[in-house]
C-alpha cells in the first residue's frame, strides 16, 4: 500500500518535472490562480489541505457550497499559506528540496515568505505558531552559503528559536522569516525531516 502511495507521489512529481515549459504542478496552480475567478484562488490555495475550514463550510450540500463559494470570494480568506501570484516578468525562482531529495521548483512573488509559499504548495512544512517566530517548526536549510549571506541577518528572536531546531546547521533559517526578494532569485532550501530516525542510543538504560 505504501508502495502504491509512494508511486503515486513520485508520478505526481515526476510528470511536471519531465515536461518542459510551465506545466509544473505548483506553477500551473499559480497560473490558474491568477487567470481565473478569485474563489478559485482561495480554493486552490487550499486544494491540498484535506480538511480546510472552507471544505467544512461547504460540506452540507452542493447548494450551500455554491452560495459559500460566493461569500468566500468576497473575503478570499485563507488561514495559512496565503500568497500573492507573481506579476508576469517579476517571478522569483525558489526551489524546495524535501527530505527524500525531491525538488519542487516554484515561481513566486516578492514579499512572500517561505512558510506561506511552502504551505500554499502542499509542501511538508508546519507553522505551529502561525509564522510569528515563536516556534522552530518551519526550519529550512539554505543550500548555498553565499545565498545565506545575501539574506538579512536573522534577528535575536529568530536565532533563539533556531537554537531549538532539530538538525540545526550553519545556514539554517526559519521559513516564516525569509521574505522573498529579487536578490534571492534562485534560492534553494532543504526541508529537514519532520520525524526522527531511531538511534541505538534511544534504548540506552531503558
Amino acid at each position: 500500500m505504501a508502495l502504491w502511495r509512494e508511486f503515486g507521489q513520485q508520478l505526481r512529481r515526476a510528470i511536471p518535472k519531465a515536461t518542459t515549459g510551465e506545466v509544473c504542478l505548483a506553477q500551473s496552480r499559480r497560473y490558474i490562480s491568477h487567470t481565473t475567478t478569485p474563489w478559485r484562488t482561495a480554493g486552490i490555495a487550499h486544494s491540498g489541505r484535506w480538511n480546510s475550514g472552507a471544505q467544512k463550510r461547504l460540506h452540507p450540500s452542493l447548494q450551500e457550497w455554491k452560495s459559500a463559494q460566493r461569500s468566500f470570494s468576497a473575503t478570499a480568506h485563507v488561514a495559512h499559506g496565503h500568497i500573492t501570484p507573481p506579476k508576469p516578468g517579476e517571478e522569483i525562482n525558489v526551489t524546495f528540496v524535501d527530505k527524500d531529495g525531491t525538488e519542487v521548483k516554484l515561481q513566486v512573488a516578492e514579499g512572500d515568505n517561505l512558510l506561506d509559499i511552502a504551505q500554499a504548495n502542499d509542501l511538508e512544512m508546519e507553522g505551529a505558531c502561525g509564522g510569528s517566530c515563536a516556534c522552530s517548526t518551519c526550519h529550512v536549510i539554505v543550500e548555498d552559503p553565499d545565498m545565506f549571506d545575501k539574506m538579512e541577518e536573522p534577528s535575536d528572536d529568530e536565532n533563539d528559536m533556531l537554537d531549538l531546531a532539530f538538525g540545526l546547521t550553519e545556514t539554517s533559517r526559519l521559513g516564516c522569516q525569509v521574505i522573498m526578494s529579487k536578490d534571492l532569485d534562485g534560492l534553494v532550501v532543504k526541508l529537514p525531516p519532520m520525524t526522527r530516525n531511531l538511534q541505538a542510543s534511544d534504548f540506552e538504560s531503558k
Binding site: C129, S132, T137, L164
Partner: protein, 534 residues
C-alpha cells in the same frame, strides 16, 4: 465545473477530487484500493487518548496520510488542546496559534472529539480496546515531581508551579488554589526550567500587560494585589546545567522596570569555555552574562537566578505560624576537577568545620518547579501495559510502539532494533508526546515525536500481511470505534462532549472575553462549561 483547458490533467484531478467532489463521496471509497490488508472494507479505527499537541499532531499526520483512518480523540475535560490551552502562558498567544491547526484537523469528517470522559476512571480502557485497531496514548504528564522536604506539605503558600500555571490559565483542577501573593515581597521558585521562568514572569510582569490576554480573571485580580517584588529562581546546579531556553530568559531580561542580579563570577563559566560551547548553549550563556539593561535603582521589581542550592526545608514565621517565612537551602559546589562541563555533577559544600554549608532565603510564597511527571492511566495493566514508574513513561520502542513487559511473549511481534536487540510489542498500542518520552521539550519536539508515532502506525498498517504483524489479528477489533463504545458510556451515565459542544463553549468564551477586552474569558469550572452546552 473547472475549466480544464487551463489546468493540466493532474491538477484537475487533484482539484476536483480533493476540494470539491470528495466531500460528496464516502470518506474511504476514494482510497479503498490503497487501504491495508488488515482492513479491506472498513476504515482503520484509531483512538487517541488526550487532546493536547501530541494527540492533535498525531491525528493530523494520520488523517492526512492515511485516507481510510478514522480518529476518535478522548479527552478528560469537556474542552480540547491540553497544555496548549492550559500550559502555555497567557502572554504567549503566538504559541497558542497551533490551536488553529488543531481546529483545522478537527474539521475533518474522519475526526471525532469525545470530551468529558476520564478514561480509566469514568470508563475502563477495556471498554475501548475491542472497538479499535489502534489506541494511541498521548495523555501527557498530569502530575509534578515533589521535593520531599520538611514543610513542603505543611507550610501554607507552598505550591507546585504546575498548579500555579493551571491556576492562572483557568484549569478547573486548580481553580481554587488561591495562592497568597500579599503576605510578603519574596517569592522563591525551585527549579530552573521554562515553567519556573513562566511563573517568575507572571509574578514580575506589570499586571496591566496581562489584562488583554486569556489569563483567568481571578488570577488577574490576585496578581493586581500582589506585593511580590523579588523573585529568586533557584537551581541545584550551575548556569551550564540550567534547562530553560533562551527565548524565555530573554523575555524576562527585557521586562520593563525589572532588574536582574548579575550572576557571580565564581559560578559563571569563563569566556574560553563559553566560546567553545555548541551554538545554543553559547548564545544562552552570552545572554546570561550580559544580563539586563534595567537599572536596579529605578526598577520596581527584581529577580535572580541562584545557583548551586538544594532545597532543605521550609519554615514558617515565628510571629505568624501559618505564614511561610523562609526556605532553607544547602549549598553545593561544582565538581572541582571539571567545574564548567555541561554534564558536571555537583557535590554538597562543606564549611571548614566539616558542617554542611546552608543558606536561608526569605520566601513568602514558594513554588516547586522540578519537572512534570506522567502517571499510569488506571487500567493500563488490564490491556497489558506495564507503566515505567521510574521514568514516568509508557515503555516504547522510541517510534511510539508500546513494548511488552514480558519478553518473549505471545502478545505481540518481535522487532529487531538498530543495535541488534529484539524487543516485543503490544499489538495495536502506541504512545506519543510526554507520556512517551518524558516531560521535556517544546511544541516542536512534541510535533516531531507525534509524527513519528503516527508514521509507525501507518507503517504497521502497510506491512500488515494478514498473520504476523504489529497490529491485531483480523477480526480482533469490531472496527466500530466510538459507535461501539458509546453504549457503555451512556450506561455509565457519562455526558461526552462533541466538537460542536466545544465550538459553543469557545464562542461563549470569546464573546465574554470581548466584553471584558480580553482575547477570551475561560470558564473556570467544568459545570459551567456543561451548563453552556446543555
Amino acid at each position: 465545473m473547472l475549466d480544464r483547458a487551463f489546468v493540466c490533467a493532474q491538477c484537475t484531478a487533484r482539484l476536483t477530487h480533493r476540494s470539491v467532489f470528495r466531500i460528496k463521496t464516502p470518506f474511504y471509497s476514494a482510497s479503498r484500493r490503497l487501504s491495508s490488508n488488515a482492513t479491506p472494507d472498513r476504515p482503520v479505527r484509531v483512538a487517541i487518548v488526550g487532546s493536547g499537541p501530541a494527540g492533535f499532531y498525531a491525528a493530523s499526520r494520520l488523517l492526512s496520510k492515511q485516507q481510510n483512518a478514522m480518529v476518535d480523540m478522548y479527552e478528560k475535560l469537556p474542552v480540547p488542546f491540553g497544555l496548549a490551552r492550559y500550559g502555555v502562558a497567557p502572554d504567549h498567544p503566538e504559541v497558542k496559534n497551533c490551536e488553529e491547526k488543531f481546529t483545522e484537523v478537527a474539521t475533518s469528517p474522519r475526526f471525532n472529539f469525545v470530551g468529558n470522559i476520564d478514561l480509566g476512571h469514568d470508563l475502563p480502557l477495556t471498554a475501548l480496546k475491542p472497538h479499535y485497531d489502534a489506541i494511541l496514548f498521548a495523555y501527557g504528564a498530569s502530575q509534578d515531581k515533589e521535593l520531599g522536604i520538611p514543610g513542603e506539605k505543611s507550610a501554607r503558600n507552598v505550591h507546585s508551579a504546575r498548579a500555579f500555571v493551571g491556576w492562572y490559565n483557568g484549569l478547573p483542577e486548580h481553580r481554587d488554589l488561591e495562592p497568597d501573593l500579599t503576605s510578603g515581597e519574596d517569592a522563591v521558585i525551585v527549579g530552573q526550567g521554562n515553567v519556573a521562568l513562566d511563573v517568575a514572569r507572571i509574578l514580575l510582569t506589570d499586571v496591566d500587560a496581562l489584562r488583554s490576554t486569556d489569563i483567568a480573571d481571578y488570577a488577574l485580580e490576585a496578581l493586581s494585589k500582589s506585593r511580590i517584588k523579588r523573585v529568586r529562581v533557584v537551581g541545584r546546579r550551575g548556569p551550564l546545567q540550567a534547562s530553560f531556553t533562551i527565548k524565555e530568559l530573554r523575555e524576562l531580561l527585557q521586562l520593563p522596570s525589572v532588574a536582574f542580579d548579575p550572576i557571580p563570577k565564581d559560578v559563571f563559566p569563563p569566556e574560553d569555555v563559553v566560546d567553545a560551547l555548541p551554538r545554543a548553549q553559547k548564545r544562552l550563556m552570552q545572554l546570561l552574562g550580559k544580563g539586563s539593561a534595567n537599572d536596579p535603582q529605578t526598577s520596581t521589581k527584581s529577580w535572580s537566578l541562584d545557583f548551586l542550592l538544594s532545597p532543605d526545608s521550609l519554615h514558617s514565621s515565628p510571629v505568624h505560624p501559618y505564614n511561610l517565612f523562609q526556605a532553607r537551602f544547602s549549598c553545593n559546589q561544582l565538581d572541582p576537577a571539571n567545574p564548567h562541563s555541561p554534564s558536571s555533577k555537583v557535590t554538597p559544600k562543606c564549611l571548614p568545620d566539616g558542617k554542611a554549608a546552608m543558606v536561608n532565603l526569605n520566601a513568602s510564597v514558594f513554588f516547586r518547579s522540578v519537572g512534570y511527571k506522567s502517571l499510569p492511566l488506571p487500567g493500563l495493566d488490564d490491556i497489558g501495559i506495564r507503566f515505567d514508574d521510574q521514568r514516568g513513561v509508557i515503555p516504547n520502542d522510541g517510534f511510539g510502539r508500546v513494548r511488552s513487559p514480558s519478553s518473549p511473549s505471545n502478545m505481540g511481534e518481535r522487532q529487531k532494533l538498530p543495535d541488534g536487540s529484539l524487543i516485543t510489542h503490544l499489538a495495536g498500542l502506541y504512545c506519543a508526546g510526554w507520556v512517551k518520552r518524558g516531560p521535556t521539550g517544546v511544541i516542536a519536539s512534541t510535533m516531531t515525536d507525534a509524527f513519528t508515532t503516527a508514521d509507525s502506525i501507518m507503517q504497521d498498517l502497510a506491512n500488515y500481511n494478514g498473520s504476523s504483524s504489529l497490529l491485531h489479528a483480523p477480526g480482533h477489533s469490531s472496527g466500530l470505534g466510538w459507535d461501539g463504545v458509546k453504549a457503555e458510556a451512556e450506561r455509565r451515565g457519562l455526558r461526552p462532549t462533541s466538537w460542536k459542544d466545544w465550538q459553543r463553549i469557545d464562542a461563549v468564551e470569546r464573546e465574554r472575553g470581548k466584553q471584558k477586552g480580553k482575547i477570551r474569558d475561560k470558564m473556570g469550572r467544568v459545570e459551567e462549561m456543561l451548563e453552556v452546552i446543555d
